[in-house]
Point group: C2
DNA sequence: TTGTATGCGTTATCAG
DNA sequence: CTGATAACGCATACAA
């Protein structure tokens, strides 16, 4: 504080003199070099400097070189704020995700960061922590930060998209990924959850399982709705009656898996398979069941979802749906940037479906060596 | 794939049309409302509006209210670029990390995001992918983005801090966390790796183990240097000879763990314990050893580091060092913001040590029921 | 190919 | 308490 006070005092005093110094003078911050400085030094106009720095073909190679060299030498760096202010663009993408610390999400983010950086964009990441309220607040913040575009994966309980209105009103492109929603003129990037769930369930049936429990989350999110649908469809196609009480809804945490295990154990007859909408929860459930002395896959087979690294650590290794997070991040970011680039045609792309696949491991082996 | 192809085709077609629209013209973006608009409507000066919006005590409550209401009504939002340009502040923090998709790192980021957002700061996250070169590039980008401060966890092979010079030269505060480095006037946030490793090793010894292998990474990073030191120290204190060939250096990936397992198996006599500098690698090693028929903990005991969720999935559950990632992120961010707030005293804080603890699980049980 | 002039939306200084 | 006005650094329409 001492410093600041002194500095203000000093500055006030300075105003007496005709020599008017600006905000960043003295030694408080070395002065930034601007295009004015470059122009003055080379005796040319700032316009030329600006153009040269932007690699405008209209500037001669020679002056370009001169300017580039001097810029380098003087440690010039362009001021994004001045530029953004002028161009009304921010080169910034906003991201809203439920939470960053899951393997899947952090992979997605890694993919986004990868393409964003290489395209000269910057990412602002915010977490909704699975709460609509925080999601709204994040949306507002990002809106005020003037992001050029938005990448969103919805929270569990979001059921209105009203908080994204400001963006669509201003024609700021919006992309939903993974946990998507129907929203006119905004693209979705996801996998075919229905098909994946269908395959998972069909696989269990083909292993001789009939009493298949499904553990999932709130039916507000497409991913869980579709997975449930796929599960139902598979049952129907194999003429297995769907039982409401075989669907366990929770928050898909590892603890939720343990809770589900307790419920499963109460069922009579004991189910012979479980299809879980997420690996973490599957793992929690498997651990709990094993502690109860239930054998996997002999008594109960398991299929998860996500191909999280834990799926190869748990014993037996977990059969699951592989699901390219990193790639999903890349695709979503790339598509968003394409829309920003003015490829207006891009706008009509409504949905991008990524490939997913069933990875079969021991947790779903059939009891007898048939397969 | 079908979709993607169609999409490309469609886009190409769009490019044929001569109708060249500028990025933001026509009705593509409704005009933003500025303080000028507010001022005009209320017949007051922009100066008053600006002050009112900043909640300057010098403005009367009444006019403040009027202005706030109108702003709300007209959908005014302040323009950060204009403000940043004017104030020379960005309210943005840069983050450079090796990679985001590990449980530990994503927890750290979550913690940082948490305090940054609540303090009105925004985070720009970039990954070095464990490469100095990318780390340098990231530093440059963040420098050009004029971040107010920087949070860094170093890549494996970084051995010069020259790329951070621009920041320190401009007195932009720099905080290292976890993978830190000695750098005059920059704060470090980390745990006491030496002590943690000492405890881990001592624990193994107390369980009756003598031939303890240590798996770690390059000795360029403090965390690995310190953990090795702690390991050595513990051996020394228990009068166990340190053996160079018991130290296996790799990249701590799960595969590296498997490789290490192969080497361990060759050793004769077989080591009776392994202390690994990271849980993931420990898990890889355990799985590989188990496949070779080696029993854990009977033949070889294990201790990991990080308390990653996998440590409670692997069988037997992994004894490890618990290590608060989320909190570390919060502390680092909070400290950085404090420095920006002008708390000059903060500057002299050189190192912040977070608590860590040994979590004992089955992987390190002693052979006989003594403990 | 280069230069001149202007405005982008704020904040902050100085003068009422 | 309020107003007028000058920067902040850059991009660009228009002139030359």
């Amino acid at each position: 504080m001492k410093n600041v006070t002194d500095y203000n005092f000093f500055e006030k005093k300075m105003y007496i003199y005709p020599c008017k110094l600006h905000v960043n003078d003295c030694m408080s911050r070395e002065k930034e070099v601007t295009i004015y400085d470059l122009a003055r030094k080379l005796n040319i106009s700032i316009a030329t400097v600006s153009r040269a720095l932007a690699d405008d073909p209209v500037v001669s190679k020679k002056t370009k070189k001169k300017i580039a060299d001097l810029a380098q030498e003087m440690g010039y760096r362009s001021n994004n704020f001045a530029r953004n202010l002028r161009t009304q663009k921010t080169n910034t993408l906003g991201v809203i995700i439920p939470r960053i610390n899951s393997y899947f999400m952090s992979s997605v983010i890694a993919g986004m960061e990868n393409v964003a950086t290489s395209e000269g964009y910057t990412l602002i990441i915010s977490q909704s922590s699975e709460s609509v309220e925080k999601e709204k607040a994040n949306a507002t913040t990002l809106f005020n930060n003037r992001v050029d575009g938005l990448l969103v994966s919805l929270a569990y309980d979001t059921d209105s998209l009203a908080h994204f209105e400001p963006f669509t009103k201003k024609k700021i492109p919006l992309i939903f990924f993974d946990r998507t929603a129907d929203h006119r003129d905004s693209t979705c990037v996801l996998i075919n959850n229905l098909k994946a769930a269908y395959e998972a369930t069909t696989h269990l049936i083909s292993q001789g399982r009939r009493r298949i429990v499904h553990i999932t989350a709130t039916q507000k999110r497409n991913v869980y709705i579709d997975r449930l649908q796929g599960y139902k469809q598979a049952l129907a196609d194999q003429h297995i009656r769907f039982r409401e009480d075989y669907v366990i809804v929770g928050n898909l945490s590892q603890e939720a898996g343990a809770d589900a295990a307790a419920r499963i154990r109460q069922m009579s007859p004991l189910p012979d398979a479980v299809f879980v909408a997420n690996d973490n929860c599957a793992v929690g459930c498997m651990i709990a069941l094993k502690q109860m002395g239930i054998r996997i896959p002999e008594d109960i087979a398991f299929v998860g979802f996500n191909n999280d690294p834990v799926s190869t650590v748990i014993e037996p290794n977990l059969t699951t749906i592989n699901y390219p997070g990193y790639e999903m991040g890349q695709v979503a970011a790339r598509n968003l940037i394409a829309q920003l680039g003015g490829a207006s045609g891009t706008r009509s792309t409504n949905t991008i479906i990524l490939r997913s696949e069933l990875v079969i491991r021991e947790s779903s082996a059939s009891r007898k060596p048939t397969s």
